[in-house]
């Protein structure tokens, strides 16, 4: 289910106390009941206060530099709103996967490059004072150029995906906002009539 995938990737959502005790217990051992531990929140290290009806955004992730969002699930969530939330969760998960992997690869390849260059120069990774030896910017430029050209295709694919997702999410947000606005207007009209 999307929930499990999302949990793995570090995105998570929480439900209001009234609706979900049973469903959360039933949908897997990973998630405990509402009042008590929230394993997904614990995974992210944060539990939003129960009275809050909005999403919460956290500090940037260590690997991907993206900020995780804990989405709010209202008790009467319409199908449209659920589609929006799931689209956002999916986008968050996909972005997290891509950037975490990409940044890790960058760091790793950078280390390897520095190591190989230092070896070629006959130097050690750490000098006498124990400081990590680095190459200057001009030497690193070869690595940057190489890394960029190697990953260009990956980036083109990711760009396409990201633009599509971004447009879809924004369009859904627009639809949800429109529906909510109409509902509010209808309610006001009813109040005025009464």
């Amino acid at each position: 289910m999307a929930a499990a995938r999302v949990l793995q990737a570090g995105g998570c959502y929480r439900r209001r106390p009234l609706s979900s005790a049973s469903s959360s217990a039933s949908s897997g051992s990973g998630r405990a009941a509402e009042r008590g531990e929230r394993p997904d929140s614990v995974g992210l290290g944060f539990r939003p206060p129960a009275h809050s009806h909005s999403d919460w955004i956290g500090p940037p992730d260590r690997h991907s530099n993206l900020r995780p969002v804990i989405f709010y699930v209202p008790p009467e969530e319409s199908a449209l709103e659920r589609r929006l939330r799931e689209a956002r969760q999916e986008a968050q998960a996909s972005n997290q996967r891509f950037w975490a992997r990409h940044n890790r690869a960058f760091r790793q390849e950078k280390e390897e490059f520095i190591y190989s260059r230092l070896k070629a120069k006959g130097l050690e990774m750490r000098d006498e004072s124990g400081q990590k030896a680095t190459l200057n910017a001009e030497e690193m430029a070869d690595f940057y150029k190489d890394f960029l050209s190697k990953n260009l295709k990956k980036h083109l694919q990711y760009n396409r995906d990201w633009y599509k997702r971004n447009f879809r999410i924004t369009f859904l947000m627009g639809q949800v906002a429109l529906v909510r606005a109409l509902r509010w207007l209808r309610r006001r009209k009813k109040n005025v009539e009464q």
Partner: protein, 502 residues
């Protein structure tokens, strides 16, 4: 511009503003108003100069002692009270459990008790440390709710208000250089329209680039990255700035300026932004984006696209290259990791060659200005020193290809352009030479009048250059006697033009 905030570092000078070096990596349109920049350990200090950013406090960012103003968010306090209480309870419970073994009997179980004591003491310690770290982490979680009093600041950052201000000032430079009488309403409308168009373009740019901005140091504090505003709101804001802005330019100024504004928004958002991640051609597209605002200013004033507009655009186009190429030299790691195709990463030799080439082009373009009657001949002469200096720095950058030469070139470009524009303005060729006036014509049409309806000259005579295509309601223009003759009867005139003999 309002003065700097009160909680600024003592090194800063009152009444001046600088902008953050790192912020100038994006498509930077040059500033006319660089008064001073103060480099503090490779960083410039920004001032928030909008009054609605009421509460600010000093933060210590990244363990360095620079002061950075940050708007205070006060909703963070309440949600964490209960968490802190929970933490305190946990500590208390652990204390009790560690105290109780002490009071038990000192039998042979004492050694085991001691072990338990040590363990529970260790547990207490352990529970204290992660709890402390947790609440610090917890404080970094923010509710994604839009607060109205934060909104102006957020929108200012979303629209890159400082960059917008620079764009508007280049447009006003274009307006000022146009050889027509200065009209304040037209000027204000053009500036406002350009500013709104620029806000829209910048917002859409940020909307497209959220995950990439998160990964670059320079841009990781933008509103969409931090979740302070939703993408929907960003798009609505862009639409609500762009549509009125272009409408204002089209209807209030002239359709040509409106078309240029719309084209520029399209070029920036739909060509430059995606192209940044696809090919190095983005730099050239971006240079055109930077060159269009002064052209817009010129067309706003005169209503037509002529050689002077293109020259001014050309000067700005050429300026972009030394400016941007020098800056991007220091950002190669971020560009490489973020997946941006920039010349400095993929074609470093080309990067430096192009920068030098365009520094030299600036000299050439300055020399062309008097030929097109925009400025007098003093302009190339006076501007030669600064053009030679930037070319020299461009040559050093080309030869040395290191960080210090790139920084020198970048800093030079920051003051070079405002100075060049200033010198250009002071050397501007005066509108009408003091000769005998013939006839004054006043167009009384409410809208813009088509040039064809306005007087053509006697057959065989060349029409005065400044009459063609630059008719605006209420504008008064003067025609030299030599060109017209004292009798306007041979002229075709539009029905609502009146003639006054001077």
């Amino acid at each position: 511009m309002s003065a700097a905030r009160s909680c600024r570092p003592p090194r800063a000078l009152a009444g001046l503003f600088v902008w953050h070096l790192r912020n100038t990596g994006a498509r930077q349109i040059p500033c006319r108003f660089v008064h001073l920049h103060h480099v503090a350990s490779n960083r410039l200090i920004t001032f928030q100069y909008f009054n609605f950013l009421k509460r600010m406090y000093v933060t210590q960012c990244n363990k360095d002692l620079s002061q950075r103003a940050k708007p205070k968010s006060d909703s963070v306090v309440s949600p964490f009270h209960e968490l802190q209480q929970l933490d305190q309870e946990k500590k208390f419970v652990n204390k009790i459990s560690s105290v109780s073994p002490v009071h038990q009997s000192w039998s042979e179980m004492s050694s085991r008790k001691e072990l338990r004591e040590i363990k529970s003491a260790a547990e207490t310690e352990d529970s204290v440390i992660p709890v402390g770290a947790e609440s610090k982490e917890d404080r970094q979680w923010k509710e994604m709710k839009l607060r109205l009093h934060d909104l102006p600041g957020i929108l200012a950052r979303l629209s890159k208000i400082k960059l917008t201000a620079l764009v508007v000032s280049t447009a006003s430079a274009g307006f000022a250089m146009a050889p027509v009488p200065f009209e304040i309403t037209c000027f204000l409308l053009a500036s406002l329209g350009t500013g709104l168009a620029s806000c829209a373009a910048n917002s859409i740019n940020q909307f497209f680039e959220v995950p990439f901005d998160s990964n670059m140091n320079r841009t990781k504090n933008r509103p969409l990255v931090r979740g302070q505003i939703s993408p929907l709101l960003a798009v609505c804001f862009a639409a609500s700035c762009g549509i009125p802005g272009i409408a204002l330019l089209t209807l209030g100024v002239n359709p040509l300026t409106g078309a240029l504004g719309a084209f520029n928004i399209f070029l920036y958002t739909c060509c430059y932004t995606p192209l940044k991640r696809m090919s190095i051609a983005n730099t050239w597209v971006g240079a055109v984006v930077g060159a269009i605002p002064p052209v817009m200013g010129w067309t706003a004033a005169t209503g037509s696209l002529d050689a002077g507009a293109l020259l001014l655009g050309g000067i700005l186009y050429s300026w972009q290259f030394p400016h941007f190429n020098a800056l991007s030299w220091g950002l190669r790691e971020d560009y490489s990791r973020g997946g941006y195709c920039m010349m400095s990463v993929t074609h470093p030799g080309l990067c430096r060659r192009v920068a030098l080439r365009h520094c030299l082009a600036l000299i050439g373009l300055s020399a062309v200005a008097p030929v097109l009657n925009i400025t007098t001949w003093t302009f190339p002469v006076i501007s030669l020193p600064i053009n030679l200096y930037i070319s020299y720095l461009g040559f050093r950058f080309y030869r040395d290809a290191d960080r210090s030469s790139s920084r020198k070139l970048f800093f030079c470009s920051l003051w070079h352009l405002p100075m060049l524009l200033l010198v250009m303005f002071t050397c501007k060729k005066s509108l009408v030479e003091k000769e005998d006036k013939g006839w004054q014509g006043v167009c009384a049409l409410p809208g813009r009048c088509h040039p064809a309806l306005h007087p053509a000259l006697l057959p065989g005579a060349a029409s005065p250059a400044f009459l063609q295509g630059r008719i605006a309601p209420g504008r008064v223009w003067e025609v030299p006697v030599a060109e017209v003759g004292s009798d306007p009867s041979g002229w075709k005139k539009c029905s609502r033009t009146s003639y006054l003999q001077t």
